[in-house]
């Protein structure tokens, strides 16, 4: 019963009949949806509705665990994500997690280019310098840390650490940035800085954001997905979904009756 309100032309991500199960239990049931390019798309829903599970399937993080099985397809720019190596895929789809997780043994500089370093990709110092500066400028951290690039990343505040993690994801110039509740561990001011950042970033990237905070989804997303008990209940432009949802379950969630 998916009400796809929007007819997306040339979607960046196309999810077709995707199902994900943990052992026997289906956590995500037959989701079909297109994600529009250069937008912030929010996936919202109550705890346990499958939104994080869906997000993590997009960069095949589930392959870390043996008991998780995926069925169905997901296409990135028309290419099946299972037809490419996970390494290639994850360079096109960066991920930012709920708790900021800069590598504790690396400096800020090294953290930004960690994707290159850890993969053994050799780059000239000049190139690396450019990547570091560009990524840190993109996340509005450059001015704050440019004089302490060689200090460890763990000395930054929570909000700065999270922005560093975003910079790290941006270093590969991915096409999509997947974010799993990126501000739920941050204080309100850090949250609002990150939110402003996302709105700016969508010019060059497509952002898919899982959030349990309806107000956040309402504030910054262009399109929203509402998931409930593993199903995709509704999908459409945020401004319509928050004032005039189509499905009664969406209505109940927004007015606080479920979740």
């Amino acid at each position: 019963m998916t009400n796809t309100i929007a007819d997306i032309k040339d979607p960046i991500l196309s999810i077709k009949d995707l199902s994900i199960s943990y052992d026997k239990h289906k956590a995500v049931k037959n989701v079909t949806v297109d994600i529009k390019r250069n937008t912030v798309t929010a996936i919202m829903g109550p705890s346990g509705c499958g939104k994080s599970t869906l997000l993590r399937a997009l960069n095949r993080m589930h392959e870390l665990y043996e008991n998780i099985h995926t069925e169905g397809e997901a296409l990135l720019n028309g290419l099946n994500i299972y037809d490419m190596s996970t390494i290639k895929l994850r360079r096109k789809m960066g991920m930012v997690f709920q708790r900021p997780n800069p590598f504790p043994t690396m400096s800020i500089y090294d953290n930004v280019v960690a994707g290159y370093k850890l993969n053994g990709i050799r780059a000239k110092k000049k190139e690396k310098d450019e990547i570091v500066e560009r990524s840190l400028r993109d996340v509005a951290l450059w001015d704050e840390v440019k004089d302490s690039l060689h200090k460890k990343g763990t000395f930054l505040s929570g909000g700065q650490q999270q922005r560093l993690c975003i910079a790290r994801a941006l270093a590969f110039s991915p096409e999509v940035i997947l974010m799993d509740e990126p501000t739920s561990a941050l204080d309100p001011i850090a949250t609002s800085k990150v939110e402003d950042l996302l709105v700016k970033l969508k010019e060059n990237y497509s952002i898919v954001l899982v959030t349990h905070n309806m107000s956040q989804a309402a504030r910054i997303s262009d399109y929203s997905l509402f998931m409930y008990l593993g199903e995709l209940v509704e999908y459409g432009k945020s401004k319509n979904m928050f004032t005039n949802p189509v499905d009664p379950r969406t209505e109940e969630y927004l007015t606080g009756k479920i979740g």
């Binding site: 949802p245 209505e251 007015t255 606080g256």
Partner: protein, 228 residues
């Protein structure tokens, strides 16, 4: 965890219903006056209506406030948001209805020619009863989420407008006077209509200004006398 929000919305609904009932009471009083067909209104009735009007004004300001608070504090969404906003819109209309009641009562007092009033009082009474019915039904359509009644009211209004136009012409044709006078009367009435509309424009300008002051200072000065 929506107790506070649900409470707030329930309070708004209770206040709204009480305010709506007050307006309906005003309308009933007015209906009473018009159906008697007399051009004098009893002191008691006037007093009652003015007292109610004052109370209505107070309630209106309070309810507006509650609605604004509910929006900022509880961020209602979807149908709850729409309900609260609709409530606010209706509030404005109810205030205007209240004003019209007071005006109409005052006009009755000003009629110097009871005969003509007598001739037309049946028509006026019907119109009054119909429009009051429309108000009652439309309020019910809001409070009971009844789409049909809402649609009926809107359709009825169109019919109403038609009747209104024809009525005036009929009124004039029934008067016992020369044609030239009839034209004169028509013109005066038309000009009076224009003046009323112009006056309403000025009125709205004043409303806009009151809203500006609300925006700047957070004070709702509707129905208050401006001191400074």
């Amino acid at each position: 965890m929506t107790i506070k929000k649900d409470d707030a919305i329930n309070h708004i609904q209770a206040d709204f219903e009480s305010l709506a009932n007050l307006v309906l009471e005003q309308l009933d009083q007015m209906e009473g006056v018009i159906t008697t067909g007399k051009i004098s209104v009893s002191e008691d009735v006037v007093k009652k209506i003015l007292k109610n009007e004052k109370e209505l004004d107070k309630k209106e300001v309070k309810l507006s406030d509650k609605i604004v608070n509910a929006i900022v504090l509880y961020q209602p969404m979807a149908s709850e948001l729409r309900w609260v906003i609709a409530c606010y819109r209706i509030l404005i209309s109810l205030e205007r209805i209240g004003d019209y009641v007071v005006n109409i009562i005052n006009f009755v007092d000003k009629i110097k020619t009871p005969e003509i009033y007598d001739k037309l009082h049946e028509v006026l009474a019907n119109m009054t009863i119909q429009s009051i019915k429309m108000v009652r039904e439309s309020l019910l359509s809001f409070l009971n989420d009844d789409r049909e009644i809402a649609i009926w009211t809107i359709k009825n209004d169109l019919v109403f407008d038609e009747i209104n136009k024809k009525l005036l012409k009929k009124l004039l044709s029934k008067t016992d006077t020369a044609d030239a006078n009839k034209h004169l009367l028509m013109s005066i009435v038309t000009i009076k209509e224009m003046m009323s509309n112009i006056e309403r424009i000025a009125d709205h300008a004043s409303n806009i200004a009151e809203a500006a002051i609300y925006s700047i200072d957070g004070k709702d000065i509707r129905h208050h006398k401006i001191e400074k």
